[in-house]
Amino acid sequence: MSATVEIAKVPPVVRAAKQVKQRRSVSKRTLRVVSVMSPLVILVTWELLSRVGVLDARFFPAPTLVFRALWDEARTGDLWTQSQHSLSRLMIGFVVGAVPGIVVGVVAGLSRVVNAAVRPIISGLYPVPKSAIFPLFLLFFGFGENTIWYFVATGVFFPVVINTYSGVANVAQIFYDVAENFGARRGRVFWSVALPGAMPSIITGVELGAGMGLIMLAIAEMLGGVGNGWGYMVWNSYQLFRIESMYAYLLVFALVGMLLALIVGLVGRRVTPWIARH
């Protein structure tokens, strides 16, 4: 008799199944809500703490004030002017860095002689902190746009060349054998095997390069004496103690960084339609 009582007390298996089901269906939405909420929670907390004076409003102005400052910059047209300077530097530097990066990476990946020549140079230069070589660029190119372009380009070049090289070098030998067996010559091998085979890795390089380019842009605009651009505005606002405006331009950097990652991601997906995605 006691046995039946015990059995009656044991929770049925159905409950376990229900739990699993609930957890799964809820989790997707919860995850999305959480990832929207968590920055919001921080912003709201920041706003409150800054308003009631727990955070020093001089150093941590309330987010609403930062957005307000950004809005003012946009309204007066300043944001647009600064963005034109910065975006053109970023784009020129990006192209000047990424194109040679891809070319050198592919050639080094295909030719053992070129690889032997280029490899020690790249692995020797790569570990030097990029910010540390800015004075060198000033020495070479003086204060001006050139310096910024080349400095940004340098930052973009390294991740692109390294990833491109390893992408090309890691294309499985069998695909080169196939190309050879079907009579492909150098140019055809490049376009039909080396480049598409390396493309996912090249995209990774470009993604990292774009992020690096933004860092380089900020450094160069702060130290390069050009007197405009997002980086300059951050530095200038700091010196004039216009902290809201400083945060506003930091926000611009964050948004541009996110936008760059988005664009590279979209373009990347476009040029590698053969990769399985979920």
């Binding site: 695909f175 196939v178 067996n181 039909s192 493309m199 053969w274 990769i275």
Partner: protein, 282 residues
């Protein structure tokens, strides 16, 4: 051992004294093939069987020109100008992941700069023959292993080479798909009657498909025995297996092969022992 030779005119591939050695890291020399002779008549479906590591792939790669012989000669009697000499169906996955099924199958033709209309017709025909028409625009990652293998076969056939080299094209497939693809291959081959050099580990497959079977010796690879397969063509894969001679031929090949497989196993064991000895010396 005598080599059955066809008349000189009919010989498509003529191989004399072919050897291939590899120097592996550590300076050790591996003799993959040694003093290897073979004649393949025009239009013959020849299959190579032999223990793993006996040099079958090495031989096929030398035939394809992807590997240079260490000694000896390979002579290929060329036919009409403009057709490629050979196309290979490689061992393992070899279709380009970044090309659609269509682009993969059209690869050889577009490399050769064949006219668009002709590519369309030829590729269309072979995709049809391999049952891939519906998947023409699909990328390989969405295909099953068997379908990818069929793309590889379509790619080689569409290139219309004089000689077809096939390195274990069906080894990764399940039994049902294998039987279906063997039937497809027989049908496509009947259309063209190309010279084929085929590699397999399956004795059944060898007997089903071939005109002649070469059993290779364990490393270093040599021609150990030739077995003619007398069945009429076109063949039916399933009916063939009910023929009284079928079992005899299979048994014949197996008994030749068994010795070599055992030898290969012994070689492998010895290698393990000698590498252990090497360990003690150090």
């Amino acid at each position: 051992m005598s080599i059955p030779t066809a008349t000189a005119v009919d010989t498509k591939i003529r191989i004399r004294g072919l050897s291939k050695t590899f120097t592996v890291p550590g300076g050790h020399v591996v003799t993959a093939l040694e003093d290897f002779d073979l004649d393949v008549p025009q239009g013959q479906f020849l299959t190579l069987v032999g223990p793993s590591g006996c040099g079958k792939t090495t031989f096929l790669r030398m035939l394809a020109g992807l590997e240079t012989p260490s000694a000896g000669t390979i002579e290929v009697n060329r036919g009409t100008a403009g057709r490629p000499e050979n196309s290979m169906v490689f061992q393992g996955d070899s279709i380009f992941p970044w090309m659609s099924v269509w682009q993969n199958a059209a690869y050889g033709l577009s490399v050769r700069g064949v006219a668009k209309a002709e590519i369309k017709e030829t590729v269309g025909h072979y995709l049809d023959a391999t049952g891939l028409t519906k998947f023409a625009d699909t990328f390989p990652h969405q295909l099953s292993g068997g379908m990818r293998q069929r793309v590889s076969i379509a790619r080689a056939f569409a290139n219309d080479p004089e000689i077809l080299l096939m390195d274990e094209p069906f080894s990764a497939l399940d039994e049902q798909n294998k039987t279906l693809l063997q039937a497809e291959l027989l049908r496509i081959w009947d259309e063209t009657r190309k010279t084929v050099v085929f590699i397999t580990h399956s004795v059944d497959e060898a007997v089903t498909l071939s005109d002649r079977i070469m059993v290779m010796s364990a490393q270093p690879g040599r021609a150990k025995a030739f077995i003619d397969v007398p069945f009429d063509r076109p063949r039916d894969v399933l009916q063939l297996r009910h023929q009284p001679e079928y079992g005899e031929i299979v048994y014949d090949i197996w008994s030749q092969l068994k010795e070599e497989v055992e030898k290969a196993k012994q070689q492998a064991d010895e290698r393990v022992i000698s590498s252990k000895r090497g360990l003690f010396r150090r």
